[in-house]
Symmetry: C2
Subunit: 190 residues, 2 copies
């Protein structure tokens, strides 16, 4: 592990049954991995919720440097960045871990995770520790099962960003509430 | 096909290479199918882009009435609703096509698609005609390849909604532009 890995964790535990709520809205996320002692980060929008347990799917392939780490170590962290670090999120997607220490270059702080070796990112709103439980090679789909989730509960900026695919991003706006229409459909505890 | 299917199409053709941009931000979408002459609609957030071609993945299983139509007819339409019809979108997710004609109940207008039998939805911002090209039963994942895309280019309301998973939804806010940072990474034509 990197020498600069910080062991103090500012994140509070988030009940696992609420972790799907972080990905359900479809934000741009960061995926951290560690491979041969080197931490890495990639930026992705190609992910979806698969179950409330929670389970996620993510699409990536050999064109991404992180793919080898996912296949080899079968774990990662999904970190949820907010609009305040959106420029870094885009820049992280524009360079490769093959020649760049992205934590150092973008001044992000790796925090020790509890159940996986990949680090959490201190500057993100939340982090989900995941194990890779399946890899559908034909479609470049990784199946991720969450094992721990963390949230920076005191954080003021909570607006995530969503990629439009053309280099522009939409920021979360107002929230509308239809809980009354959905009570029968909501999973327990959310 | 239903007698009330309207053949006049207010949608303009959207180049297929831009259609991934409709799903990349992760909005709540409507999926239309037709089975035994009956149109149906379901509401989902569990989808992701897989390729710019465009190809999408969507998660659904036998617990959804639309699943049979997807397996049997191997086609659907992904319709993109905006905030003005968000209440209908939630209510569509709260009832089943087994006993409800959702187009009729929610006063939505089915438009004849060009390449599939499932209908477009006139009241949506855009519609993507898709063929089911694979079904990963183990994970309840459907792989969808788009064959035609349509957009209501004159529409003023273009803000989509994103499910938080607890019955609340976040509406698109402002747009930020990082095209200058991403030119090397953008697919051609977007």
């Amino acid at each position: 592990m990197d020498g600069y890995l910080i062991k103090f964790n500012n994140m509070q535990k988030l009940p696992l049954n609420k972790a799907f709520m972080l990905l359900e809205p479809g934000p741009v996320v960061l995926i951290t991995t560690v491979n041969g002692g080197k931490n890495n980060i990639m930026t992705i929008s190609w992910h979806m919720v698969m179950d409330f347990t929670p389970q996620f799917a993510m699409l990536t392939g050999p064109w991404n440097y992180s793919c080898e780490a996912l296949i080899k170590n079968k774990e990662c962290v999904i970190a949820i960045p907010t609009v305040d670090i959106s420029r870094k999120v885009v820049e992280i997607g524009g360079c490769t871990g093959a020649d760049t220490d992205k934590f150092r270059k973008f001044r992000l702080t790796p925090l020790k995770a509890k159940s996986v070796k990949a680090p959490l990112i201190k500057e993100c709103l939340a982090n989900i520790e995941c194990r890779v439980t399946d890899h559908i090679r034909k479609h470049n789909i990784f199946i991720l099962d969450a094992v721990q989730a963390w949230i920076d509960a005191g954080r003021k900026e909570r607006r995530t960003i969503h990629a439009n695919g053309d280099g522009t991003f939409v920021v979360d706006g107002r929230t509308i509430n239809y809980r009354g229409l959905m009570t029968a459909k909501l999973p327990p505890g959310v």
